[in-house]
């Protein structure tokens, strides 16, 4: 097991190196330059030249890449051109918001996706099954930002049930020792703040979780259908085990295995979806930060921010793979 983990970790190095090169080139291939973006009407040729010298953009691109690599490896991620704050500080402050949101979206997706898929499989080809297919198709095909705006309009503006922006009502006084607002409320025993933060999570979590929900429900359905026809299920039924017990013990558990992998992959969807969801709901996470950075041609933020997200994605998948190994010993052997 340890060898498996170490091998995967070593493999990370070339992946990240290749990724850093890719991001570096991509960021510079964005149309326009940071000087034009920031200087506006005052972008005289002289001002642009000065700007390029100051930010080292006048040097050959391989020199820039090498400098970037060196500073990144030393843990220095640079300073945001737009906010003038160190990138490391921004990541530290913003990461909890994104994780909290992704977590909430995943809970939503699992809470609804698993039962939906299960019921659809048990009622194979019934109206429920077709209905779940229809819902999944909608979940996959509706753009996240569109769903987000619709949810906000319905539940925030029209019905006035839920808040539409931010992570906490500005009139709620709360301390934030961890940066995870719901957890902060619980840790500090400020139940009002925890409840308020939870409410702020509901709509973004639904919007962001819609795609994983659709995928999870489809995979669960397919998996349950598969497992139902396995010999051990038939044997259990033949033994006279009550059907609910067969479902619980033999079908559902085994059907969950492929779903675990989907959770890891869905995390990527959640991270990319966070860019739009966080922007629409004004959540100060990594997603809205990167969107602003693209707009401002904020090279340090884009480079380090995307690298960071990529790293998180790879690590989450590693954890999922390891967990998978625990759940299903066959994977370890192979």
């Amino acid at each position: 097991m340890l060898r498996f983990v170490v091998r995967r970790l070593v493999l990370l190095i070339p992946i990240l190196l290749g990724l850093s090169l890719l991001i570096f080139v991509w960021v510079r291939a964005l149309p326009g330059t940071p000087a034009d973006a920031l200087l506006g009407e005052r972008a005289t040729p002289q001002a642009v030249a000065e700007f390029r010298v100051r930010y080292g953009l006048d040097r050959p691109i391989y020199v820039q890449y090498w400098a970037y690599l060196k500073t990144t490896l030393s843990g220095e991620l640079g300073t945001s051109v737009a906010s003038h704050r160190p990138v490391t500080t921004e990541i530290r402050d913003r990461f909890p918001a994104t994780v909290e949101l992704a977590f909430a979206a995943m809970i939503f997706a699992l809470a609804f996706g698993l039962p939906l898929g299960f019921v659809a499989a048990k009622r194979y080809r019934s109206a429920v099954d077709h209905g779940s297919l229809f819902l999944s198709l909608i979940g996959i095909s509706i753009p996240v930002f569109f769903l987000a705006i619709m949810l906000k309009y319905l539940f925030g503006v029209r019905l006035a049930w839920l808040p539409t922006v931010g992570r906490q009502d500005v009139l709620v006084d709360a301390e934030h020792p961890t940066g995870f607002y719901v957890l902060d409320g619980i840790v500090t025993r400020n139940w009002n703040a925890a409840w308020d933060a939870t409410q702020h999570l509901i709509l973004p979590a639904i919007a962001l979780g819609s795609i994983p929900l659709a995928i999870i429900s489809r995979v669960t359905r397919a998996s349950v259908l598969d497992v139902q026809n396995e010999d051990y299920v038939r044997t259990a039924h033949a033994k006279g085990v009550p059907p609910q017990q067969v479902d619980r013990r033999h079908v559902f558990r085994n059907a969950l295995l492929p779903v675990t992998t989907i959770i890891g992959l869905s995390f990527g969807i959640l991270l990319s979806g966070a860019v739009l969801t966080e922007t629409v709901f004004a959540i100060p996470g990594l997603g809205s930060w990167l969107k602003e950075a693209i707009f401002n041609h904020d090279y340090p933020v884009l480079q380090s921010g995307i690298m960071f997200l990529a790293l998180v994605f790879v690590i989450v998948n590693l954890i999922v793979d390891v967990t998978y190994g625990f759940i299903d010993p066959r994977v370890r052997v192979s």
Partner: protein
């Protein structure tokens, strides 16, 4: 299991509904005495001498005050920390009499020593803080440093010469040459007076400048302890979340009417408007015309407009083609259907411009401005009088991206203008370019004959519009007109404001006679407010003071 699943589903659906329905309407029933501002983002730093962005400056304006201020809703200069001021005969020394009995919010007194300490701080600025992205306004207004970094101007080129105390309640600001435009700039939050004790105690100028140019203070002055004399003081600031200001109970003037102001960053325009609709904010800055329509349609909301403080124009480079001929330029002015463009593409937020200065800027000429109403026949006639063979071929540059306030949809402006020019004896070659991909530097290096461009003012003085563009020869316009250059220099130097305004009016008219460009629009900025917010007075330079706001 099947039954169990069903029950589970129903339970989950129920709990979600219950959770949403049980939500207390706390964010919609506003706590009294609190004004919640929906801003485009977080401030960068709360120190006017280190920033140039509107989001920071709007907060700084609540905490700090300068020697002078703009009259609310206008640009006229009024007393603030100085009660009166007078220029010496030669215009090189300005004496400001200071308001007495004023205290900074850390309890230290405001006096002449404090004022000079601030000017000295700006003048002796560290070399690595002198770049435009940190010190834009000082560079623009006072133009140099005691110890210049490579690329910065030194004392020989700077306008500023020194600050001398004249007793505890008066200071003399010394200049190297006659110029009156700096007075208008002193109303900016960038030149607000901070507590010298706090500057030192909280290490305002200590910190590092990264390889990428951003200043990171190690002290807490600009993040936790900004100490000024303003009607509000900072209570707390959590980036991405909220910034809380509370009333300065020791304020020298009328106390702020609302006790607490909360600024929350919402960068997405749409999200800002929805937050206004739900009551999560009382004020949403910077609405698009579409959003303004949504806000207007809502009976509990209202729209207010910031007076125009910009200009969109069709630039003309006199170095290129036949454009040095006055009649050709007049033909262009007659050939541009400006009224239709302003009427069609500005969602009701554009005003047809008949001169370069927006109406609120002193020097705006109320009469005597030559008018160029769209007239293709007259344009053709002028071209023939100029000895040109029709059609006259011209390249017309326009940006395809990055709409500006004065130009929300550049390609459409271009198409309309090109069509009207083609009817007026011109043949237009389109030259699209990307604003962020070198469009501006292309114009600035004199490559474009005709082009769409514009300007948003830095501060409320005509010099910042007219002198900046037409005060010296530039590659952008390519003309050399000593008469105009002299007129503008004289206007800038005049210390008697009434005479100065007259000179600028003359200049504004003269520009429209000689047509280095054809202005077509001044645009207003829409902001959204809840109907129960009263006393929000719009500022052309976007720096509204919140102390007059009442949330009913």
């Amino acid at each position: 299991m099947r039954k169990g699943t069903k029950i589970g589903l129903v339970l989950m659906a129920l709990s979600l509904t219950a959770a949403t329905a049980a939500f207390p309407a706390s964010s919609r029933t506003q706590a009294k005495n609190t004004f919640i501002v929906g801003a485009e983002g977080d401030p960068i730093l709360l120190d006017g001498s280190h920033v140039a962005d509107g989001t920071s400056l709007r907060v700084i304006t609540q905490i700090f005050e300068g020697l002078v201020r703009n009259k609310p809703g206008a640009l006229a200069i009024k007393p603030a920390l100085a009660t009166r001021w007078k220029a010496s005969k030669n215009g090189l020394a300005w004496t400001f009499t200071l308001r007495q009995g004023v205290k900074f919010t850390d309890g230290t007194p405001f006096n002449s020593a404090a004022v000079c300490a601030n000017f000295t701080r700006w003048w002796y600025r560290r070399a690595d803080l002198q770049g435009d992205d940190i010190s834009y306004y000082w560079n623009t207004v006072f133009g140099g440093y005691a110890r210049p970094a490579p690329g910065s101007n030194g004392p020989d080129k700077a306008l500023y010469r020194g600050c001398k105390t004249a007793g505890p309640n008066a200071v003399r600001i010394l200049l190297t040459r006659r110029s009156s435009s700096f007075l208008g700039a002193l109303a900016l939050a960038n030149f607000a007076i901070a507590s010298p004790t706090a500057l030192k105690k909280y290490k305002a100028d200590e910190g590092t400048v990264g390889a990428d140019g951003g200043f990171r203070p190690t002290g807490t002055f600009a993040t936790q302890n900004p100490i000024g004399t303003g009607p509000y003081k900072l209570q707390s600031w959590r980036i991405g979340d909220k910034l809380v200001l509370v009333r300065n109970e020791g304020y020298w003037g009328p106390k702020a009417k609302t006790k607490t102001v909360i600024v929350r960053p919402i960068s997405d325009t749409n999200a800002r408007v929805q937050a206004l609709q739900t009551g999560e904010v009382d004020f949403a800055n910077n609405l698009t015309p579409q959003d303004a329509a949504v806000v207007k349609a809502n009976s509990s909301l209202k729209v207010q407009y910031r007076p125009a403080f910009n200009v969109g124009y069709v630039g003309i480079n006199q170095k290129l083609g036949p454009l040095s001929k006055p009649k050709v330029r007049q033909a262009i002015a007659y050939g541009l259907d400006r009224k239709s463009v302003v009427g069609a593409f500005y969602g009701g937020q554009g005003q047809l411009a008949d001169q370069f200065l927006p109406e609120l800027v002193e020097g705006f000429a109320k009469k005597g401005v030559p008018q160029y109403t769209y007239n293709p026949g007259k344009a053709k006639q002028l071209l023939q009088e100029a000895g040109e063979k029709l059609p006259v071929e011209l390249e017309f540059w326009y940006p395809t991206d990055r709409p500006r306030g004065y130009m929300p949809d550049p390609p459409r402006n271009f198409q309309a203008f090109a069509a009207s020019l083609e009817k007026s004896g011109f043949k237009i070659t389109p030259r699209p370019g990307q604003w962020r991909g070198g469009y501006v530097s292309g114009l600035q290096s004199g490559k474009a004959a005709l082009y769409l461009f514009g300007w948003t003012g830095d501060f409320g003085d005509p010099a910042n519009f007219l002198n900046v563009h037409f005060g010296v020869q530039t590659d952008l316009f390519g003309f050399n007109d000593p008469k105009l250059f002299n007129l503008l220099t004289r206007a800038d130097q005049e210390t008697d404001n009434a005479k100065r305004v007259k000179l600028y009016q003359q200049a504004s008219i003269y520009v429209m006679q000689t047509l280095p460009m054809v202005p077509y629009v001044h645009t207003t900025v829409a902001v959204g407010l809840r109907k129960n917010v009263k006393g929000y007075v719009m500022s052309p330079v976007e720096l509204e003071k919140f102390d007059s706001v009442v949330v009913g």
